[in-house]
Each structure stands twice: as C-alpha cells, then as structure tokens.
Amino acid sequence: MTAPAPRAPSRPSYPRLVVTQVGYQTLLLVRSPAGAFFALVMPVMILAALEFLHGQESIAGVSAAQFFTAAMIAFAVMNAGYITTITGTVIARDDGILKRLHGTPLPPSAYFSGRIGAAALTTALSVLAVMLVGLVFYRIDIDASLIGTTLLTVLVGVLCFSSVGLAATVLVGSTDAALPMAYGSLLPLCFVSDVFLPAGGAPGWLSIAASVFPVKHLADALEDIFVATPGHAALSGTDLLVMVGWAIGALIVTLLFFEWEPRPAGPGIRRRLARLSTTLHARLRHRRRASHQ
C-alpha cells in the first residue's frame, strides 16, 4: 500500500452496486440449506402432497392439479419473497453483518434492492420448478398466451412480499423468532385466502378480512390465470394494484424504521413498538436537521 494521495471522490455506479448485491444475496440464499429448502423445495413438496390427497377431485370446474399448481406458484412467491427475506435479513442483522455493511459506503436502498432482486431470482427458479412438476407429472394446461400475464403477476407478487418481509423485520426481535413469526403470520392467511383450498365454506367476514391482505390477492390473481377458461380476462388489475399498494407501504415502513444493529436480547413486542415511535421521532428530527444544513 502507498500513502493516500488526494483523490476525487469516485463511486461505483448505482446499477452496478445493485447487480452485485442481487448476485450476492442470491448466492447466500441458494447456499444456505434452510433458504434453499423453504424457497425451492417446499412448494413442490406441498404440491405433491395436495395432489396425492385431492388428485381425483375437481375444484372450481377444473382438475385439482390445475388449481393447486396456481396455488403453489402463489405459495412459492410467498416463501421466496416473504419468508426468506425475513429470516435472511434478521440473521444478518443479529450477526452484526448489517451493522458492518452500514459502516461502508453501500447505500441502504442498494441493499434493499439486492434483497428484493434476489427474492425475485429465487422465486423465478421456484415457480419454474412448480410449473415443471405440474406440467410433467400432473398434466396441467397452460395457455401459452398467458405466460406474460403469469410473469407479471409473479413479479408484482414478489415485489410485494419481499418488501413486506423487509418491513416485518422491524417487528422480529431475534433470529429464533424469525421463522415462527414469518410462518405464524403467513400460514393463517394462506388458509383463509384460497391458497391450500378454495375457501368456499368460510364465513363472509373472514373472506372480507382476508381481502385486506395481499395473500388472497396473489392467490386470486394466479388462480384467475390457471383456472379461468381461455379468453376470459386473466389479468386482474385490482389484485395487482392492492399488491403494489402493500409494496409501497412496506417500503415506506422499511425506509423509516429498518434497523441495522443487532437487538439487545429479549425486548417484548410492546417495548419494541414503543421503541419504534422513538426511532421515528429521532429520524424525522434528523431529516429536518439534515435538510436545514
């Protein structure tokens, strides 16, 4: 090394930073056994199980396989988007990896984009696996003209669920709590949102409550594509808009509250919520001070 010469501040370009982050996050996901299992194996496994149990039935006028493939694509999006984003980010935070990153010139938004981009890549692999299994083993019909609509829906879905995952890390206190809290919030919504079975018999209030959350909208949007007769309007604008709304809300929460430092062990959720208001207050004051300078 030589003595530092005066030099013009120069930075790597933002797109390059994001591309590097996506590559790095994806590598981490596929190398970690848990990440690979939840994102890539689990949806296919559940598809096989559901097909084994209900394979002879027909649902909403189509074969069960047709319905379950759509549902498991939705589940794949939620696993790779929501579950792995929460667990991966909380582990990185509690191990001090995020604190170290935060001391470098990497912009926070590039890190978030990396997480979302990696979730999208992993989701693409997972969806591909589900569709291949559906096509090869269960002989589902996929209208070639609907591939574009499927891709768009999956893309909006993964943007929504990985953003919500980033925002949700604010509520997760420790690595140990990450997986229970992630599935504890996702699975009940899946059951009331037509993911594992069409919730025909559910009480009306329950499906109204479910329609607030993005799970139902992703499932409905995908089931519209796979279950509807060809020619029927397969692109569900409302469902996509609700997911985009959740994504925007989640990204705002992330930018305001995201934490880069390991949590001191064990604050309960009530104290955590109290701390959030302190954090918000401090950050807004900080922004104001920064804008005055």
Binding site: P4, P9, T20, Y24, L28, R31, I97, G103, T104, P105
Partner: protein, 327 residues
Amino acid sequence: MVGGSRALLKVPAANDPPAPGAIPVAISVDGLRKSYGDTEALRGITFTVARGAIFALLGPNGAGKTTTVEILEGHRRRTAGDVSVLGLDPEHGGRDLRGRIGIVLQSAGFDRELTVSEIVRLYASFYGHPRQTDEVIALVGLDEKRSARTKALSGGQRRRLDLALALIGDPDLIFLDEPTTGFDPNARRHSWEAIERLKAFGKTIVLTSHYLDEVQRLADWVVVIADGVIVAEGSPCSLGGRDVSDAEIIFRLPVGQRWSDLPEAVRRTASEEDGFVVVHTTTPTQVLYVLTAWAVARGSELPALRVLRPSLEDIYLELTKDAAEQP
C-alpha cells in the same frame, strides 16, 4: 506537562484553521455528550487526533470508549457537542465519509456461506478505488484461507478478516475497537505489526483497548476515559505525569555497612522495607550520584540496585480509581 508533550508530538490545537488542501487534524471532538435516557454515557469529552497518528482510547469496560468510537463512525448520534471526522460531521457525512474510513467493530459476523475471497471482493465493490483483493488478503495473512468459507475460520482468523474488510476500501482513517481481545500472545504480536505497517502507510488509526501493553507499544497519544469523562491524556510515556513523578531507588545495604553509615542526603528520604533500602525522590540522578560515590569510596557494590518509575498500569489504575470514586 501535558501541553509540553502535545507540542512535542505536533498535535495541532482544535481551533487551528486547517491549511487548504491538507487537513492536519483527522478528528476533532469538542464537548461531546451522549445520553441514553437518564444515563449519561459521555459527559463532555474533548480531544483531537492528529493525521497519521495512532490514537488510543483507554478505559475500563463501560467507560464510554465504544460509544465514543461509534459516534465518530456514524453508527450513533450524539446528544451534544461538535464532532468532525476528516472534516465532515459523521452524522451527515454519508457515503463520502464512509468511503474514507474503515471500521473494525468489536463484534460483527460474516455471511457464513461465503468464502474469504468472495466476501472481500463483495466489500471491494462498495468503493470507488478499492485495494486489490489478493493484496489485502495477504496483508492480513489469510492467503491460505482464501477459499475457505467464513464459518470454517478460527476466532483469530475471523478477526483478521475483520481487518481485511476494513482495509479493502483503502481508507485514510481506521477505527479498531479492541482489535486483539481474546488473542494469544503470538497473534497479538502479529496484529501489532500489521497495525504498525498501516501507520507506516500514513493511515490514521483510532484504537480502543484495555490492554496497557498494547497501548504502550502502539499509541502516539492516549486518552484515558472513565465514567464518561477524560481523566488523563498524554503520550504513553508521560501519561499522568509518569515521566516526572517520584522515582523509587531500591537497594540492599552492602555487607558491613549500617544504616547510620549512609550519606545524610540519602538517609533523609529513605526508609527500610523488608531488608531493602527504599528512597523516594523527585531527583533520582542527584541521589544516585551521592549514593554511588559513597559506595565506590567504600569499595563495595550496592546489591540489588534498581530505579523504578510507576508503570503505565500503576498510573492507569490510579486514574480510573479516582474517577470511579467520584459521585
């Protein structure tokens, strides 16, 4: 005394106007305070760090060392006071500042599934002018572990990877928070050599430590902090008046000599402890001159003759004890 050492080390005062193009002060801190709720962790701290110097923050656990360093790094916000790091306020320095500093945190993990060279390359991608990946891995002595996943590294190897990640951006200023805690003596010596090499490259280094030998060996300037205030500062050799305080001259009486035979000038300040004669004096040169002349005149040696100064440890314990006793 402290002022004199400061002039000797050419540490510029905080209010000197920085010369255009070359800022001589890497860090200046004035009246820094930090409160957590009702607890005041830092109660008004003022110091400067000269460019190219190794600056040590020394103090017991909980004294406020890490809080101070994390404010300088931009990890924490201060409650009051002025702070300037490389001419920028760490709260607002943003990417420009973070691109010029390197941080070794007290404890921070790695992505377990990445290899050493993958993770160093990843961190290199954040900077405009990073060092060569291989060069930095070699500098910290991890050549042989280049393709090992980080989960397979030993504690000492992880600490070296910490240092590699702090150096990859070619920073002007490096923060080392307890860099050798938990090292065996050999590893510490290697670490010290690495830190001295960094200084030779012109880097400014801020280190926290509670090892006195580490500070004695490395630091140009030491600030001792206890209970959120600075209790002393100086070069390691002059800290707390170590260079001008009383010396102890210790020896045994030569065979055949009695206490009453000792020269008057020596006897006046001497006492007997466990068969040794102990002389406390602020003028050891004069006392030794009289004493050795007396012994030589009698043709005898002064058995077990030693001259002692308080060690850095004595001074440190004295300083931090006083601070702990304050309300």
